[in-house]
């Protein structure tokens, strides 16, 4: 497949547990983004990686959230000590470089997280 892939597609966890969500961007895309979609807050930016630059973490809602990107490709979003308000669909997107004017972000299918 040529698109952005995410795993798992669904995750159910208990409050207080840690979870890891994975994103594989489109091959060759150097820019990668994480967003969250929830009923109460809509679509929110979380974090942005561009090449080897320091990530823009300005959208992370708390220090329980972290993300890394290994080798400039795959990214993992980690949520520690999950809370019920973390329940949402976590969407990953990628774009070719993050610097081209007419660039579009391509979204993956999302991971639906439910915290019980």
């Amino acid at each position: 497949g040529a698109g952005v892939s995410q795993s798992p597609s669904n995750k159910v966890t208990e409050k207080g547990k840690d979870v890891e969500l994975r994103c594989d961007p489109i091959s060759g895309h150097t820019a990668l983004y994480w967003y969250r979609q929830s009923l109460g807050q809509g679509l929110e930016f979380l974090i942005y990686f561009q090449g080897n630059s320091a990530p823009d973490k300005s959208g992370l809602p708390s220090d329980r959230f972290s993300a890394e990107r290994t080798g400039g490709s795959v990214s993992t979003l980690t949520i520690q000590r999950t809370q019920q308000e973390d329940s949402a669909v976590y969407l990953c997107a990628s774009s070719p470089s993050g610097t081209e004017y007419q660039e579009t972000q391509y979204f993956g299918p999302g991971t639906r997280l439910l915290v019980l």
């Binding site: 679509l43 823009d56 993050g98 007419q102 979204f107």
Partner: protein, 111 residues
């Protein structure tokens, strides 16, 4: 702070009718996007608009941008059932790369 407002939030249309979805944003932005989301699915890119007066069309959908008014419109012509989905507009700043989304417009086309 960049904010995006869409209206209406819900739109029920008859097949064959025309309608427009509006997207207002609060501060100067470099790029405006329209995305479509089907239930349980991810976001599909429809249009990216870059300059004042930009107009793009794909099938029954046409998007336009007025940067002076900070307004984009998504016009639906002769709606068909397949257009039923949620439509989001989003804006960002070049090199900012944080898409700020509107709340979305749920479109239902009735036959």
């Amino acid at each position: 702070e960049l904010k995006v407002e869409q209206n209406p939030l819900f739109l029920s249309m008859q097949e064959g009718k025309n309608y427009t979805i509006y997207c207002n944003y609060s501060t100067t932005s470099d790029r405006l996007y329209w995305y479509r989301q089907d239930p349980g699915k991810s976001l599909e890119s429809l249009f990216v608009l870059l300059s004042n007066g930009a107009v793009k069309q794909e099938g029954r959908l046409m998007a336009s941008l007025d940067t002076k008014a900070r307004l984009s419109t998504l016009h639906i012509t002769a709606a068909v059932h397949d257009l039923s989905a949620t439509y989001f507009c989003a804006v960002d700043r070049l090199y900012g790369n944080k898409l700020v989304f509107g709340a979305g417009t749920i479109l239902r086309v009735k036959s």
